[in-house]
Subunit: 567 residues, 2 copies
C-alpha cells in the first residue's frame, strides 16, 4: 500500500487567512503547528485502513470567509447603549466577531465551521474595560432581558460559549486581564478573570522583577489549554491542571472571588479556614456563567522551584499493575506527585510513537524485558516542592512501581513531554483536513469503579470498526482519579459524529463516572445533568439560578442543564 | 495572703447526681475531672486577687434537680404521632430531657443552669432509629409546622442546640451511630451522623479486626471535643481537629452526604474530583441543621501509623518569631505538620505551669538561655504520615525554628500534652464553682492581619482589670491560620458576662477576623453574620434556606443569622 516511503502529506503549515472559518477553529496561535511524525502517520494509515492516496486531497478546510446568516436581534438603541457604556471601539457587530466569540473548540463546532453549517451566534460582541462596565452591562441586560454570554480564552470543549439565545458576548481577555494585588505574606494574588494562562504564570515566575517579591512563584495550574485559556475560565468550569495531584484542582486554588450578578455584586471573604456557614466562595465555583460574571479572583500561589523538580518514567507490564501502583502511591502519605499520568495499552502504543521512544534503545530494552505491546503501560510524572521532599516522593514512587513490576526509564521522556506538552492539540487540524476526527471525553471516578468504567467505555468505542480509543488517568486523589478518553476515527458526517459522542457520554453516565472531571458541563453535557445528580439536587442549582438570575439572562440555553428545554 | 501553703480547694470530684443541672453543664464523663494543679491554683489567686478564703465556699453549684417552667406546646395527637413513628420508648417529655437536649456547652448556658435561669427548651425529645424515622418526622413536622432541632454529641459552644421556637429535638447519637459501609479500595467509610468521635476512631484504628481490612486507619479529626461530639456535628458546624494542618478541616474530609430536608431527600455524589457545576456536597456543609437533617456521610480516611509520628517542642524568644516561623513552615512545601500550635506569651506562661514544665530543669534552661517570661512562646507539634516523610518534616521544621531563634525542647512535652489533651475542659467547672468564668472565642485570619487582630482583641480583653487572655494559633494554612482566645475572669453576673463576650465578638469582626474558625455560628454569633458576609451573600444563604425549608422548621430562631429577628 505504502509504495512511496518518502511520501509526507501536505500538512497545512501556513497561518489561516484572517476572516476565515479556519482562523476560528484552528487551535492556538495562527502560526502554531504540530504535524504527525512519520511513525504516527504510518500508524494512522494502518489503523484507519487508509493509504497515501487518502492524504493527497484535503476536505472541508474552512478557508472561506465566515459569514453569519442570523440577523442581529438587538434594537439600535440597545446597541447604542452598549457603545455608550464601553466606548464604540469595544463593540463589534461584524459577522466574523459574532461567530468567533460564539465558538469554542469542540469537535462539533470545528466540523460545522469547516462545512459552513451555522452555529448559534450572539448579536453583539462587547469588550468590557472594567468592573463598572460590567455592572452597567449586566444591569442594562437584566432590565432589557438581553442574554449575556462570557468569553475568556475561548478553549471551551463543552459548547460553553454558544449563544443559544443570541444577546451579547462579553470578551474578558481583551481588557480585564490585570493583576489587582499581590500579597506575598499570604501567598495570594488577585487578578482580573480575563488574564490568560501564560501571562499569569509569567508574572508569578518573575515575581521579584514584576511584583517586587522576595521569591518566585507558580500558579500550579497547567491544563492542556494553558496557553489559550483564562484564569476566570479555569474557575467557572472547575478546571484541573496537569500537576493537579500536587497543587490541587482549580476548585482548591481559589481563595475568594468577586461576581456581578443580575441581583447584585459581591466579593467573597478570603479566610483560608472559617466555620461561618455554607461557603459562598465554593457555591459560585463551577457556575459556568449561569449565576453571574466572575470579574476577579484571589488565588493561592506556590513557591516556584523548578530546580527541585524530579522526573520519572516507568513502563508497567499491565494496566492493572499501573492502576494498583498509582493508588498505592496517592494513598501513601509521603507527599503527592505533581504530574502523574498512566496510559492504557492503546495510548501507550501511540505515545511510544508520538514521543519518539519507539525505535530507540529504550524501546528495544522494554521489549527485551518482556513488556509486551498492547499490554504494557507508560507512566510519566514529576515531583515538586522542597528538595528533600521531592527526593523522597520520587524514591517512594520508584519503590512502589517496582513492586508492581514496572521498569524505570529515566526522567528523560518527561523532559520531552514537557517540551511539547501544549502542542498536541495542533495535530487535530491536520487529521481533520483528511477526514479524521479526534476528540476527547473525560470523567471522574472512584478507584473501585475504574476498571468497569474504562472497559465499558472502551468497549462502546471499539465496537465501531477502525476506531482508536486511548485512555489515561492524570489527576489523582486518595479516593479516585479521572479517566480521559481520546477517540479517533475516520468520520465526516456531523450527525454520525454526534450520535457516537452521545453514546460515549451515555456509557460514562451509565457506568458510574462523573459527567466531567475537568472540562465542565456547558451546553454539551447539560442534557445528562439532571439524571446524573438527580432532580432533588438539580432543584438546588435551579433555586440558586433563580436567586441570582430571575430573568435567565446569564448564559441561558441549557448550560449545566439548569434551564434545559427541548432544542 | 497564702498563709496555709498546704491548702487545696475542695475541688468537686464526685459525679453530679442524676437529674441535676450540674449533670447537664458538667463537661464529659460524670466521673471525669481535671483539677487545677498547685502552680495553676497559685497563679489563679494571684491573677484574680483572690486568697484561699475565696476558695472555701462554692457558689451556684447547680446541684438542684432540673425543672422546666415552659409548658409543652405540642398537641397530644402530635406527640402520639411521634410515638407511632419511633416507638414510645424513644420519646421523652420529661423536664430533665427537655432541658438536657436543648443545652450545649457555652459559658452562658452553664451560668444560667447554675443559677436556675430558664433556657429555651424543646417540647419533646425524640430518638430516631433510622433514616425512615427521620423522613417521617421531617415530613410530619413540615406539615404541622413543628420546629426540628438536631442534637449530636451536645458539645456546641454556639447555642446551636437551643430550641428558640420549641418543637422537637432529634437525638442522633442514641441509635443513628452505625457504620453503613467501608471501602478500603477508595479509603472511605460511610457512617450514620450520630456516631461519636471515640467509636468512630476506634473502628478505624482497629479496621483489620472490625472491618476485615488490610490496614489500620484514622479519621484524622481530633477536636478538643473529640470524646463528646459526633461525626455529624463535626460536619454541619465545619469543625477542625487538632491535627488539621495535615489532615484538613472536616470540610475537606467529607466526600459525600445524605440529607433529609422538608423539600426532599438526597445523597450527594462521591467523586473525589468532578467538574459538574456547583458542588451540592459543599453547599450543605456548615448548614448547621437549617437546611435539613444530615443522616449519614462518607468520609475520607487515612493510614494509621502512630509508629511514624514525630513530636517536637520549641520555645521562641517572641510571638513575632513564632508567627514568622510558622508561616515559613506552612508555606515551605515539604509536607505539613499534623498538630502544630504556637502559644502567645500569656498562654505560654500558664502552659508552662499547667503542663508541668515550670520548676523542671528544662524550665531553668529556658530562662538561662534568655527566653524571658511574658515574651517567650511555646510551640508544640507532630508530623504524621510515611516514615521518611515525617522525618523530613521534623527536620525542616527544626531548621526553620532555629533560624527564628527558637530552642528545641525535645518531643517529651508533646507526649504529656497528648496524654491529657481531652481533659482541660474539666478545669472549667472547678473554676466556675468559685465564681471564675472561663470561655473561648476563636477566629480565622489571614497572615497579614494576624498581629492587628491579636493585639486588638487582647487589648479589649485586658482592658478589663484582672482578666486573663491566652491566645494560640493551632490550624495552619499557607494563607493564614486561626486565633483561639481563652479568657478567664472573676465574674458572676450573666449580663456582665454577655456584654463582655459581645464586645470580644465585635472586636474580632471589626478587626478583620472571621466570626468563627471551627466552632460554627449557631445562634450565638448569628447576629453578626449579615454584617460579616454582607447582605448580598446572606441573601444567597436565605435563598437556599427558602428552597430547602420554606416553612422555617429546621433549627429556627437565628442559627447562622439566616432567619434572624429581634429576640
Amino acid at each position: 500500500m505504502n509504495k512511496n516511503k518518502n511520501f509526507t502529506p501536505d500538512w497545512t503549515d501556513k497561518p489561516p487567512k484572517p476572516g476565515t472559518a479556519r482562523s476560528i477553529f484552528k487551535w492556538g496561535a495562527p502560526d502554531g503547528f504540530k504535524h504527525p511524525n512519520h511513525r504516527l502517520y504510518e500508524a494512522i494509515k494502518e489503523k484507519f485502513g487508509m493509504d497515501d492516496g487518502d492524504f493527497r486531497k484535503k476536505i472541508y478546510e474552512g478557508n472561506e470567509p465566515v459569514s453569519c446568516s442570523t440577523g442581529i436581534r438587538l434594537e439600535t438603541r440597545q446597541i447604542e447603549r452598549f457603545k455608550e457604556i464601553v466606548g464604540p471601539d469595544n463593540v463589534s457587530v461584524s459577522d466574523y466577531d459574532r461567530v468567533r466569540y460564539s465558538t469554542g473548540k469542540t469537535m462539533e463546532e470545528a466540523m460545522k465551521l469547516r462545512q459552513g453549517v451555522a452555529v448559534e451566534v450572539n448579536d453583539l460582541v462587547v469588550h468590557p474595560r472594567s468592573k463598572t462596565d460590567i455592572q452597567m452591562i449586566v444591569s442594562f441586560c437584566n432590565q432589557e432581558k438581553i442574554p449575556v454570554y462570557v468569553y475568556g480564552g475561548g478553549s471551551s470543549v463543552t459548547k460553553g460559549l454558544q449563544c443559544i439565545k443570541g444577546g451579547v458576548t462579553l470578551v474578558m481577555s481583551t481588557h480585564m486581564n490585570r493583576v489587582l494585588s499581590f500579597n506575598e505574606t499570604n501567598q495570594t494574588i488577585t487578578v482580573e478573570s480575563g488574564i490568560m494562562g501564560p501571562a499569569y504564570e509569567s508574572i508569578l515566575n518573575n515575581a521579584p522583577e514584576k511584583l517586587d517579591a522576595e521569591y518566585r512563584y507558580t500558579g500550579g495550574h497547567f491544563p492542556q489549554s494553558f496557553q489559550y485559556s483564562s484564569v476566570g475560565g479555569w474557575i467557572v468550569t472547575l478546571g484541573s491542571g496537569q500537576a493537579s495531584s500536587y497543587y490541587g484542582d482549580m476548585y482548591d486554588i481559589v481563595l475568594s472571588q468577586e461576581y456581578i450578578t443580575p441581583t447584585g455584586d459581591f466579593r467573597t471573604l478570603d479566610f483560608p479556614g472559617t466555620a461561618t456557614g455554607p461557603k459562598v466562595n465554593d457555591i459560585m465555583k463551577g457556575s459556568e456563567g449561569t449565576f453571574g460574571v466572575l470579574v476577579n479572583a484571589t488565588l493561592k500561589i506556590f513557591k516556584y522551584r523548578p530546580e527541585n523538580r524530579r522526573r520519572f518514567t516507568f513502563i508497567f507490564p499491565t494496566w492493572e499493575a499501573a492502576v494498583d501502583a498509582s493508588r498505592e502511591i496517592i494513598q501513601g502519605e509521603f507527599g503527592k506527585p505533581a504530574v502523574f499520568r498512566i496510559s492504557d495499552p492503546e495510548e501507550t502504543d501511540l505515545a511510544l510513537k508520538m514521543y519518539g521512544i519507539e525505535g530507540t534503545p529504550i524501546s528495544r530494552l522494554i521489549s527485551y524485558k518482556g513488556y509486551r505491546p498492547m499490554r504494557r503501560c507508560l507512566c510519566i510524572g514529576t515531583a515538586e516542592g522542597e528538595k528533600n521532599f521531592t527526593k523522597n516522593v520520587k524514591k517512594q514512587i520508584k519503590k512502589i512501581c517496582r513492586k508492581y513490576g514496572a521498569m524505570y526509564l529515566s526522567g528523560y521522556p518527561v523532559k520531552n513531554w514537557e517540551h511539547g506538552r501544549y502542542l498536541d492539540p495542533y495535530i487535530r487540524e491536520d487529521l481533520n483536513d483528511f477526514g479524521i476526527i479526534s476528540d476527547t471525553l473525560e470523567t471522574g471516578v472512584t478507584w473501585d469503579n475504574l476498571h468497569r468504567l474504562h472497559q465499558s467505555v472502551r468497549e462502546y468505542i471499539k465496537k465501531r470498526p477502525r476506531t482508536v480509543c486511548m485512555t489515561h488517568a492524570s489527576h489523582f486523589y486518595p479516593q479516585g482519579t479521572n479517566l480521559y478518553f481520546i477517540f479517533i476515527a475516520r468520520m465526516n458526517n456531523i450527525d454520525e459524529y454526534l450520535e457516537f459522542q452521545e453514546g460515549i457520554i451515555d456509557q460514562i453516565e451509565k457506568n458510574g463516572g462523573s459527567l466531567s472531571h475537568h472540562h465542565g458541563v456547558g451546553k454539551m453535557i447539560g442534557p445528562w445533568m439532571e439524571r446524573h445528580i438527580g432532580t432533588k439536587q438539580m432543584n438546588i442549582l435551579k433555586a440558586l439560578k433563580k436567586h441570582f438570575d430571575p430573568n435567565n439572562i446569564m448564559n441561558p440555553g441549557g448550560t449545566l442543564g439548569i434551564d434545559i428545554e427541548i432544542r
